[in-house]
């Protein structure tokens, strides 16, 4: 379980940190290649709120993590804070 503070990126946030935005896009494509292929080929089948167009359909939300909790079976293993 991750606890943190969420920040919604506005247009100026994206423009100010374009490198990060592009890196997030690359990470998404790497993590979800099958979804990426679906969006690329059949994206028009999706309703507008589901399309991948930034700001028109989607907002980028960054979560600044301040706590991780690990669990195994039904027990909390170790709460921890992310490394700086």
């Amino acid at each position: 379980m991750i606890e943190g503070r969420a920040k919604i990126y506005g247009i100026f946030d994206v423009l100010n940190d374009l490198g990060r935005t592009l890196r997030v896009r690359a990470l998404l494509l790497k993590k979800y290649p099958k979804y990426a292929a679906f969006y690329a080929t059949k994206g028009s089948l999706l309703p507008k709120p589901w399309r991948a167009t930034l700001f028109i359909s989607r907002l980028l939300v960054e979560v600044k993590i301040y706590r991780f909790s690990y669990m195994r079976e039904a027990k909390l293993v170790a709460p921890g804070r992310p490394a700086e």
């Binding site: 606890e3 979804y35 999706l46 589901w50």
Partner: protein, 175 residues
Amino acid sequence: MSQTSAFAKRVLTEEAFAYFCTTNMRNHPHVVPVFFLFDPTRCHAYFLFSADSKKVRNLRLRPRISFSVDIRDPVNPLGNKGVMIQGEAKAEPLNDRDVDREYVKHLFEEKYGWSSSQSFFRQNHAERILVDVTVRKVSCWQGPTFLSCPKFCVASNRQGCACTSSRGGVKHSGK
């Protein structure tokens, strides 16, 4: 019962895990995957938690909770489905006289196949809390369609129940 209601009922009775969300006094959300039961005849959901767990402490302070249960399609986003329940939770120790322990035990063993030695009931009953959630709102999604169902849609088979779409207010009447 409409198709959506039947779908919601099936997901809630057959799927193994729910993501259970409570909030603490500072409004910080706490979400964990848990075992659960849904009793469609009473429209209640049941959970067994440790008495000293954070979620129990939270729901004693703020009984309004929500949980979601979903089925994911790893290839096609239109294949994703799920149900979100919002309701009010009541925590009762398992050794409380009002708790029908055998009924709850039977439901859990029927769903998860726990034998008596493997079940949560092996532990001291005073350490276990039965959380009974009264369902207030049922929201479902199937692909791109989001629907809000009155709880009786899920709980009963009666005719004429309706689910309201969040997109354009389309109504899906029961057959």
